[in-house]
């Protein structure tokens, strides 16, 4: 009997445990760094230079709270699906289903937005070289398919690739900053607008800028999705996540500084590729090439990381039968969730080819924001049910419950900011999640093996 059990256990397929802290860093920063290369600058358009800087740091504070909270919970709940697995163990099945959907929607739409951006970048280059009317579709489709194939073939190769291109894109920002500081730019830094037009749209401009301030850091919580594939989750996840948020705080501040100093805020607020545009303003062709490659690499790294994360969340939900169990399959050679990776490709293509970029980005931000709101009460419930000293934690974040309360406060302000600009989309998104919740509660949950979904060998929670 014991031999049969052992044989069955040996035949079990699981995801491959090959990642280290560097891969976790590459996953988190790789998804996010594209936000420094584009998108954040709309915060300057909403409220001016000062509002852009306030949004940068307030969003930085929000994401520092996210990184600290995530590091503590994930170092304890080391399972693919990240926040989905956390919600399942700490809050309950309906919350877990919603969090899983938030993750899949946020990452799939971000992947689509990145593919659209790569098409736009190639169109820009073709235009600069004298070719007008480039058909962007084949390049968008190739980006999504090639990265899906890389993810299909194995997590080690895909995240090692992410590490290299993300590190290049980060170093490119540092080189631009140092070059401008040491006189490589034909145009000097000019911050006169800070005193001449500090807040062109008043204090409301700062609130409105918050929406796009998230773009500097959106996705750092994606490090949790690697939980089941790292060699030492309790060590690697907190280390990779905290190193990631520190990298992003540096990159975000340098980006604001260089771009705001080189580009007039009225133009910066509408620029498509602000860091590349800043390099063009310097008149230095070496910097232009460097920042163009940095933009392309950051975009590719983000799409690659998004495929990794969305597929892990979808796979976890399939494995628990929150979705058809067919999605819970692991490739016997590559040890990746191959059916989930393939299934999400056409969904990403539909968004990339059929929806405008700003709508795709907004839906991605909204799904992310709903996930951050969940983290606040998830953290409070986690500490209440399993106080410090009852289970082993890889990392304990300081000043609890202050980070959770701060996160909730900033989430509330950001909902208001999103409502100001995209109220219809906010209501549409909430309606979608309510309908999906009703479907799960009244139909899908009957297929879930209720006893099997709670896998952590924890003691009984306080109060139960």
């Amino acid at each position: 009997m014991s031999n049969t059990t052992a044989a069955a256990a040996q035949e079990r397929l699981g995801l491959l445990r090959v990642l280290g802290p560097g891969h976790v860093w590459a996953l988190g920063v790789g998804i996010v760094l594209v936000g420094e290369y584009m998108g954040w600058n709309f915060s300057v358009g909403k409220g001016g230079m000062i509002a852009g800087l306030v949004a940068c740091w307030v969003a930085g504070l929000l994401y520092t709270c996210v990184a600290m909270i995530d590091s503590e919970v994930t170092s304890t709940v080391a399972a693919a699906g990240g926040q989905y697995a956390q919600a399942k163990h700490i809050v309950g099945p309906l919350m877990a289903f919603n969090v899983g959907l938030f993750l899949v929607m946020a990452y799939t739409m971000l992947e689509a937005a990145n593919a659209i951006t790569i098409g736009f970048l190639l169109d820009t280059v073709a235009g600069m070289l004298g070719h007008s009317g480039l058909n962007q579709k084949p390049f968008i489709i190739l980006t999504i398919l090639a990265l899906a194939w890389l993810n299909y073939r194995g997590v080690l190769a895909s995240l090692s690739f992410n590490f290299i291109i993300t590190a290049f894109a980060f170093v490119a920002i540092i080189v631009l900053f140092l070059s401008v500081q040491f006189g490589a730019s034909a145009v000097p830094l000019d911050f006169s607008a800070v005193s001449n037009e500090p807040l062109p749209y008043g204090w409301l401009g700062i609130v409105a800028a918050l929406h796009f301030g998230l773009w500097y850091y959106l996705g750092i919580e994606g490090t949790c999705q690697a939980a089941e594939e790292v060699r030492s989750p309790a060590r690697s996840l907190p280390f990779g996540t905290m190193a990631g948020i520190m990298t992003l705080l540096i990159a975000a501040t340098l980006t604001w500084y260089v771009c705001s100093g080189l580009i007039p805020w009225e133009y910066l607020g509408n620029a498509g590729t602000p860091l590349f545009d800043a390099a063009r303003v310097t008149g230095n062709s070496g910097l232009m090439v460097l920042l163009f490659i940095g933009t392309a690499f950051a975009t590719t790294a983000s799409a690659n990381g998004c495929i990794n994360d969305a597929s892990r969340a979808w796979f976890s939900m399939g494995r628990d039968r929150y979705l058809p169990s067919w999605f819970g399959a692991v490739h016997p050679h590559y040890r990746t969730p191959y059916r989930s990776i393939v299934f999400l490709v056409p969904i990403a293509l539909i968004f990339a080819l059929g929806a405008p970029l700003d709508q795709v980005i907004t839906f991605s931000i909204l799904s992310g924001l709903l996930g951050y709101t969940f983290m606040t009460f998830n953290m409070v419930m986690f500490r209440r049910k399993w106080p410090l000293g009852t289970i082993k934690r890889g990392y304990v974040h300081p000043w609890h419950p202050l980070p959770a309360l701060l996160l909730l406060l900033i989430c509330g302000a950001t909902y208001f900011a999103v409502f100001l600009g995209y109220g219809t989309q906010l209501i549409a998104m909430l309606s979608f999640y309510i309908i999906a919740s009703l479907w799960f509660h009244f139909w899908r949950y009957r297929f879930v093996r209720r006893g099997d979904q709670f896998t952590m060998p924890w003691p009984r929670p306080i109060g139960y």
């Binding site: 080391a78 070719h131 191959y338």
Partner: protein
């Protein structure tokens, strides 16, 4: 026709090739291996063997 037109055709061809490789491999795996084995992954296996959650 310039180089960008050729690149467009190359991108279409590569996309079709990558999609075909991925789908064929998926079909081969699904028809070669038992679905019970492919979906045998369970959450928390590491927890049971390595992470004791004991202080």
């Amino acid at each position: 026709m310039d180089i960008w037109n050729y690149l467009e055709y190359a991108a279409w061809a590569l996309s079709a090739l990558v999609a075909a490789i991925m789908l064929l491999d998926m079909f081969r795996i699904d028809t070669t291996y038992d679905n019970e084995l492919l979906t045998s992954s369970r959450e928390g296996e590491l927890e049971l063997t390595q992470e004791r959650h004991e202080l």
